[in-house]
């Protein structure tokens, strides 16, 4: 019997209600069906709206309570009676949700050709609004494939996979943000893994806390596998601190040594703030280079004893003696770094390049130096500068012969605001890479808990931003500058859960989306990575086939 009561009983589980009003600027208002309660719907949830021959994909931006009877407020019904409460909610008192239509998925065949289009109109009155289905998410973000990496699940949609097009992603520099403990490292590890798995770029990771290479830890101090344990043949671990690596059971592929001759004045000026150097003192390095010569200045300067000799030098260079002495003082600190070698470095840059050239991924562990920001910045800058210079040469060559294009390179840095703050962003190599977009095929993945410390212009150049919870107003402003729908995203962003949830928006996704970041660290998660690896990575297959695995 197809009666009302039966319809009522067997309610269509996904239908939420219908459009009752709206505008393009403010989104549409949806009246919930009587049996739907406002508390089952969350801000950030995705919905689809069916309108004649169009289907809209949108997001819930606000939730309200409405009443048909204005006396309800002064004369509330006896809601202590559960039956009455149940009846009143959804009928006399009903729920309203605000939905922002984001995309139009047209329902004809053109859909597959053009893909989802930005919503430039709104659905008509009484259009049916439902919770978005897994298929809707797939239509919008694409299926898991050899370019699309499953990064997480849309909010409250445990079976729908949100896939990120890795090839698109690495065309620009990107950022991972979130306050401390929100899951940046876990998220970044997944992104690194996705890039390895899809084989679209080589990577260089400056692993400050030594948590990406061999193993990391979760909050409850359980070990989680690092990338080398999952992709042994594709990942090389370089170390600055061999002793620490070995203590952690890692046998590094290469131990990096930096020679005095490798250090350039530019490396020092980046450290101005970190070493608390005055402008004059930092600039003195350039004068010293001119005076002693490019390869010797650092060595000669540190070898100077105090007294007469020093005063003479200051006079010769026409530099305030106190400034020069403070520079010497700070630089002497470097002597304590075992990875810096007076007698000359090993050619780490060439080593790194040779790995990258083979399409491998180099993770540089800092060991105990990870807690020394000056060491981290010095090394990251110094190596990146040289590597970038080589890529520039490759790219130059490729101008004549496009087949010579180097494999794209993605460089990951943590504490990015230290390299990209407004006063030094213009001087550091990282600032250059971020601003030049993908010139020379090199892009950045910046990881930071204080995005407001990063230069605005650099922030606006980042293609895709994936951000976990941020609660500082300035940080919120900074990640959202120049993003449309700013105000609404802001409210979504500040309401994320404190862990493992992120808002993703920008160049490589058709619309902003809140996700629960994919689990990392369980046996199932590792199993899934392996399955994906055989399914989506053809190189690996071939290697297996011909038995020439590294």
């Amino acid at each position: 019997m197809n009666s009302e009561i039966n319809n009522f009983i067997s309610k269509d589980v996904d239908v939420l209600g219908m459009v009752v009003s709206g505008s393009l600027t403010n989104g549409v208002e949806v009246k919930l069906k009587p049996e739907r309660s406002v508390s089952e719907i969350k801000v950030g949830r995705y919905v689809s709206i069916e309108a004649e021959n169009l289907k809209f994909f949108g997001v819930v931006t606000d939730i309200e309570l409405g009443a048909t009877d204005q006396t309800l407020r002064v004369n509330p019904p006896e809601i202590s009676n559960p039956f009455i409460a149940n009846v009143i909610s959804g009928s006399t008192a009903y729920g309203i949700i605000q939905v922002e239509p984001m995309l139009i998925l047209s329902q004809d065949d053109l859909d597959s050709i053009y893909g989802p289009q930005p919503a430039k109109t709104i659905p008509p009155h009484f259009s049916k609004v439902s919770l978005a289905s897994d298929e809707d998410v797939e239509t919008v973000f694409g299926l898991e494939s050899d370019t699309n990496f499953w990064l997480g699940n849309p909010l409250d949609m445990d079976t729908a996979k949100l896939c990120l097009n890795i090839e698109e992603l690495i065309k620009r520099s990107n950022g991972v943000f979130g306050k401390s403990g929100t899951g940046k490292t876990f998220l970044t590890r997944l992104l690194l893994l996705g890039i390895i798995q899809r084989g679209v770029a080589s990577q260089l990771v400056f692993d400050m806390q030594s948590e990406y290479g061999w193993k990391g830890f979760s909050e409850d101090s359980k070990e989680v596998k690092g990338l080398k344990q999952i992709f042994s043949s594709k990942v090389a671990i370089f170390s600055l601190d061999e002793e620490s690596s070995r203590r952690r059971g890692v046998n590094p592929d290469y131990v990096v040594r930096i020679g005095y001759e490798d250090i350039e004045p530019g490396d020092i000026s980046v450290l101005k703030e970190t070493l608390n150097l005055s402008e004059v003192a930092a600039d003195a390095a350039y004068s010293l280079e001119r005076y002693f010569g490019p390869n010797n200045w650092f060595k000669e300067f540190l070898a100077l004893s105090g007294g007469e000799e020093f005063i003479d030098l200051a006079r010769n260079l026409n530099i305030n003696q106190a400034a020069l002495s403070s520079l010497k003082n700070r630089l002497s600190r470097f002597k304590r770094f075992d990875f810096i070698d007076e007698s000359g470095g090993n050619d780490s840059v060439t080593q790194i390049l040779s790995y990258l050239d083979r399409g491998m991924h180099v993770i540089l562990e800092f060991g105990r130096y990870g807690s020394d920001l000056a060491a981290y910045m010095l090394v990251a800058n110094l190596l990146t500068r040289r590597i970038y210079a080589r890529y520039a040469v490759f790219a130059e060559k490729a101008l004549g012969d496009p087949t010579q294009q180097p494999t794209p390179l993605v460089i990951t840095i943590e504490e990015a605001h230290k390299f990209l703050s407004p006063d030094i962003a213009s001087q550091t190599i990282f600032g250059t890479i971020a601003r030049e977009m993908r010139k020379h095929n090199v892009t950045l993945l910046v990881v930071d808990q204080r995005p407001s410390g990063i230069d605005d212009e650099i922030m606006s150049q980042l293609g895709t931003k994936i951000t976990c919870l941020l609660d500082n107003e300035k940080d919120l402003d900074s990640v959202l500058t120049g993003v449309s729908g700013n105000r609404k995203l802001r409210s979504v962003l500040s309401r994320l859960e404190s862990k493992q949830q992120a808002l993703i928006f920008g160049h490589s996704v058709p619309m902003p989306m809140v996700i629960k970041v994919r689990d990392y660290g369980t046996a199932t998660s590792y199993g899934d990575f392996q399955i994906e690896d055989t399914k989506f990575n053809f190189d690996e297959d071939n290697e297996d086939l011909f038995g020439k695995k590294l």
């Binding site: 009302e4 009587p34 049996e35 009877d69 009846v87």
Partner: protein, 196 residues
């Protein structure tokens, strides 16, 4: 036709309501009961008033039990009372049966006098109450101001015919809420009654 459920015959009718005289004194369905009468079309009504009185309006009953110990004694000593007194039931018309099933809408012709009136079975009640389109008809009925009692008894009886009793009542409650927007106090009272 189930002889047992027959309660009486129509003695007065209009297109809004009809009056039934019961076959037996005091043997009437109670308020809120769904009844049917007539054929082609079969009409449905809901009992909204029951009265007991003298068959002859001109002759009022007089007290007879001064010497009796118990009330029944009055009837035993005066067997003619069972013929002189009658029970009458008033029903409001709420729908009819057409070829497409039961329609809940005003009827176009009143039932004929002497139509047999039968109390509906539980199955019929379930079928009838599976939609509640007639509620506005009842809620706005000019017939009587105690209509809310009729509605609540009808809904409680109907709920017992459905498998999921509480689900039915919530559905009914929401229909009431929909029809009584702006009459919050009335709604509240009605809901209180059917929630018991």
């Amino acid at each position: 036709m189930n002889q047992d459920n027959r309660i009486g015959e129509v003695v007065e009718s209009s297109s809004l309501q009809f009056t039934v005289q019961c076959y037996d004194l005091y043997k009437s369905p109670n308020i809120g009961t769904l009844v049917k009468c007539g054929t082609d079309p079969q009409l449905f009504g809901i009992v909204y008033d029951v009265s007991n009185k003298s068959m002859d309006p001109a002759r009022r009953p007089v007290p007879r039990g001064r010497d009796e110990n118990k009330e029944e004694g009055v009837y035993l000593s005066n067997p003619q009372l069972n013929r002189l007194l009658i029970t009458e039931v008033n029903c409001i018309l709420v729908g009819y049966k057409s070829t497409e099933g039961i329609l809940q809408s005003p009827v176009s012709l009143p039932p004929r006098i002497h139509s047999f009136v039968i109390e509906c079975s539980e199955e019929e009640l379930r079928e009838f109450s599976s939609t509640l389109d007639f509620l506005p008809l009842l809620l706005e009925s000019p017939i009587l101001n105690s209509i809310d009692d009729v509605i609540s008894s009808f809904l409680i009886k109907s709920s017992k015919s459905h498998d999921d009793k509480s689900r039915f009542l919530i559905y009914a409650g929401k229909e009431l809420a929909f029809n009584l927007s702006g009459q919050l106090i009335r709604l509240n009272n009605l809901l209180k009654r059917i929630s018991k």
